[in-house]
Amino acid sequence: MTSFPMILTERMTAHPADSHLLDRYEATGGYETLRQALLSMKPEEIVEQVKAANIQGRGGAAFPAGIKWGFLAPIEPRYLVINGDESEPGTFKDRQLLERDPHQLIEGVVLTSFAIGANHAFIYIRGEYPKPARRVQQAVEAAYAKGYLGQNILGSGFDLDVMVHLGGGAYICGEETALLNSLEGLRGEPRLKPPFPAVEGLYAKPTIVNNVETISNIPWIVANGGDAYAAIGDVDSVGTRLFSLSGHVKKPGNVEVPMGLTWRELIYDIGGGIRDDNELKAWVPGGASAPWFVAEHLDTKVTKDDCAKAGSMLGSGAVIVMDETTNVVAAAHRIVKFFSHESCGQCTPCREGTTWLERILWRLLNRAGRPSDIDLLLDVCDGISPGLAWPPRMTTICPLGPSAVSPITSIMTHFREEVESMIPGLQEVASA
């Protein structure tokens, strides 16, 4: 691993006791970038820097942030919404950023709002994160007191109001249009697209929705230039990224690493290897929605394109490792159950399909499966995600339904025999 700057976690690593406080933030150079940018840069210049940085959204879809900002419709008012509804199983990186370095996010929010011409920003934090929300709220208040937020920020004439909004417990609100609905006080159901939020978002006004991690990178990018950022990491996937390691690794937790490592380095070197030095069975590379990788993928590079070529994605950066003792059907069932529980219920394939999948897997787990269930599972998956290809085609409004398909296609691809062995009578028939 070559040396790289710790973009997101340097402050919290160096100052674990008070990295969340304004004094420490200012003492470590915080809000300097903002001061300079507001007074000396034009909004378009910031957008240019972010475009040059080629930073991909860290929420899961990995859409380049700069390009997203460029889609904004020329209508006032505009809104910036920070997506802190981090609910993807395996993911806890935003929690750390919110809890440990909220000012870094707020500086990013102000810079972004300035760049896109928004005077109102919302930080939507999931309801189960009261502590991160408290810390952000405290930071927002401190920033208001010091004039980093509010009217005429730092004498630049730019106004910005920031509100922290707490969710109510719904994974689907991580989908940007569902999040906007939730913020409007509606059910968190994804909207039909188009129109995209950049054209018709919050209150039907142009809106940019970005992930916490994405925006936390902005101060560094503006301070050091987009090219400097683009120089870190791999060719297409640039910068550093926070990965959340969990499951059967020796050292779970968040790590900031440059893009372009191999999975072996991430799991064995950084994650410390598998617990009890067991064999690695499989891992989920990018949150519960992502298709699984197995040992043969260990040397795949951790970049957007390489993972896509290998049939999965980096998603939210959650790496869930399963060792040889894991019952893959049980693991897949648990993931499908999650999606079935979190389905918003508005469109048919997801509402009915995920529940049905969950119930079939439950039958398998309880040794009550039927030989026809293997085909049935795959066919139900096909009804949600025709062709079972990656990236998925969808019969649904949003990608939640196809996300529930990933673990099933994964176990069918990599562990079909193990699945079949759970169906009474199937292997006898096959061997006869």
Partner: protein, 212 residues
Amino acid sequence: MSVATVISDWSAPNQERARTLLEAYPERRSAAMPLLYLASLEHGHLTPAAMAQVAELTGLTSAQVQSVASFYTMYKRDHVGRYLISVCTSISCFLMGADDVLEAIEEETGTPDGTTSSDGTFSVEHVECIGACGGAPAVQVNYELVEGVAPERGATLCRWLRESSPEVVVTDEMQKYFGGVRSFDWGITETVGAIAPVPAFGPYGSTGEESA
């Protein structure tokens, strides 16, 4: 109709908070979600009367408010115990043995998953991922997090809650005595915590000062 007349049965600070919330958003309707938390806090849980009040405040119909409230898992429309214990059973916690933790907690509290104990002390529920996967298995008490909870520690936690009946539930305190491995280092010790099964954020359900 003025805010005060609609929620005249609320405590004065909460009335004030409701008024602030209504003014804070560009559109009144957006205040529905925070107001629902506030109403839960006022009424113990989200009663029909509370939903009707929120409807009146936000200019929605009661049916619409009910529709919104029922979408989100954290708005409890049934009675909730004093301590809401949420055990994460999603994939990461499951891999690390969350089912055993849930079982131990159910046993200790005598409260099966999804129910409230008869004395109103505990509500036990399993929840989907609460973002503490590095510290799996994780448990929340009134949405205050404890990570690395082994089954027997989960049981001890419940016993402690029942016996010492803390007014305020504080993450760091619980983590110290009942927690294990954490997702990441928290750096400091806080005294802020939840006073009710409502997230301890800003206007609702919190107490104490955030401090270093």
